[in-house]
Amino acid sequence: MAAPKKMLQIKQDTTQARLSSMTLPDGATWAQDARKAALARVETMGLPHGRDEYWKFTKPDTLVQAEPPKAATFDGGEAPLWDHVDRLKIVFVDGVFDADASDDLSLEGVTIERLSDVMNKDIHWAKDQYGVLEQRGQEVVERPLAALNTAFATDGIVLHATGKVSKPINLMYLHKSDNSDVILHHCIKLDEGADLTLLETGPAAARFNKTMEVEVADHAGFHHVRVQGRDHERRAVTGIFTRLGTESTFKSFTLTMNGVLTRNECVIELTGDDAKATVAGACVGDGADFHHDDTVFITHDAVNCESRQVFKKVLRNGATGVFQGKILVKADAQKTDGYQISQSLLLDGDSQFLAKPELEIYADDVICSHGSTTGAIDEEALFYLRSRGVPEAEATDLLVLAFLAEALEEIEDETLAEAMLDRLEGWLARRAS
């Protein structure tokens, strides 16, 4: 954590205002200790303020204030995504595990428990992970909302993969109350050689604060595919904190549709040699109320590791997109291969994309490339398509999908990717009318 400094009075005030209405949940001694330590981190850092370095582009006010603004529930009338895929479903309704709606949690190669149960157990492996990866993430950049999460979360999944998990696990979120203020904390541990695909779908709450800690041991593979939306009034801050062992793989892809404010953070530490991490996202936003923020921090702390960041945003009618991505290559992390691209396609002059790409490199034998672009629809390509008889709206959609394709290609499983492409096409079609 950064050296103590004098906190802005307003930060102190808003932090106290938020904390005064909250009490630390009970639990086993280790759980209470973890919560108290997290609370102390929040008090030291203070909750985010617009003057904080990584909150200049995204107003944290509604994420920080004591009561969340109301958000209407949304039913798009669609069947659940990936209904045709054999998967284990775990349902949370407004942040509360719903055993009746969920599948049986027993599955080969994995032990799945509920956080609220685990936190009451005197002896549990989660003791060494809960709040630990989150806390490590604070060392590079302050993430007070994740610390707040660790202090107050009462629900979530605690998942221990010991081998190849036979089917994907789908966390399905349902939003039923217009003022639900939800904190979920998932703790995921993959043993050596384990392999797990985790899916996340659905609107979770009016305000959603989610932290996911993922420990990926040597030779293990973690695959994460997430779809956020189509709820229109969502406010969400999510954080993934992961640490990768030797020759392990981490892949995370997020598709975001709608929502008022979504901030997705991802903090990755490559600590074992030859590890590979990919974090990618595609987002489509419509209207001046739409604000989407991807904030990524990747630390290379081992030899011959690869990291990829691929983010694409399509923004229209005054929507705002933010990308803040940093690659830190420590002195010993030779042979690092770091790649970062963030691009936006602005469909009108009112929309905006704010990008802050950063590289900090202390090793001398590395390849790191980064690029960030903002552009409009290519008029030449649009005319070419129209000259072949494709109507303007359809031609524009084709070009939008073509733009997003590079990010979608990061999804390994084609069945999952195709279903997401259908959703995207639906989103575009609805806006064409």
């Binding site: 005319f383 129209r386 073509a402």
Partner: protein, 251 residues
């Protein structure tokens, strides 16, 4: 078929007149060629007819089969049967060539109130047409024109023309950037499409292309007007003597 009357066009962004009264009629089944020095307005004519933005028609008209073209959107002109083979075909990363063509074929059919082509039928037709143009399966799968050589791009234009079966084809300097073999292949593709109901307007700098695609009528364009019209012998005259004599003669 294509009827252009007294067409005056200026650039939208600057006050520069490019076309200064073009008159031209292409009858069904005929091939007309337009030749002319650089900057004479040949490419502008092709863009204005196909509906590219950035031009303002200040006077005159253009119609296709009796329908006023200049009031239509680009896609409506295409559905009405107009096709422009681009001088510089556009690369579209992320859109597969096959997807692009199928979308175009079906969009035009839909606009004309016809049934869409099924995936199977489309595949059968495109494979046969691609084969005669020596376009392999890989080129069909790749993104539109991305990484194509100059010759491949032009062959791809002709493939689109063959799939869309337009009434009126405009070829804008289709010979540019082609070697002798590629030119032959492209010309054969064009000639295969010649029939009684279809008109062609071939824009070129050189006689060479017209050896392969034999025109019925040759026009010489200079400074935004058609200054001379004749038979195929006119193209030979240009090849031998350049434009200087013709320009002097008209002046």
């Amino acid at each position: 078929m294509l009827e252009i009357k007294n067409l005056h066009v200026k650039l939208e962004e600057e006050d520069k007149q490019i076309l200064k009264g073009v008159n031209l009629t292409v009858e069904p089944g005929k091939v007309h060629a337009i030749m002319g020095p650089n900057g004479s307005g040949k490419s502008t004519l092709s863009y204005v007819l196909s509906g590219k933005e950035g031009y303002e028609v200040t006077e005159g008209s253009a119609s296709l089969g009796g329908e006023e073209l200049l009031d239509m959107e680009a896609e409506e002109r295409a559905a009405a049967g107009l096709f422009l083979a681009f001088q510089y075909p556009v690369e579209i990363p992320g859109v597969g060539n096959m997807t692009f063509l199928r979308t175009a074929v079906n969009a035009q059919r839909k606009a004309r109130g016809e049934d869409e082509m099924s995936a199977g039928e489309f595949l059968k037709v495109i494979r046969a047409k691609a084969k005669t143009l020596k376009i392999d399966a890989d080129m069909l799968k790749r993104p539109v024109n991305v990484g194509f050589s100059g010759g491949e791009k032009k062959r791809n234009e002709i493939l689109q023309m063959a799939m869309l079966e337009p009434k009126m084809c405009i070829l804008d300097e289709t010979d540019s950037g082609l070697d002798v073999d590629a030119m032959k292949l492209v010309s054969e593709g064009v000639n295969a499409l010649r029939d009684e109901g279809r008109g062609f307007l071939v824009i070129t700098h050189y006689q060479r292309l017209l050896d392969h695609i034999k025109p019925d009528v040759v026009h010489i364009m200079a400074d935004g007007r058609i200054i001379k019209t004749g038979g195929p012998e006119l193209a030979l005259e240009v090849e031998n003597n350049g434009y200087a004599d013709i320009l002097a003669e008209v002046a």
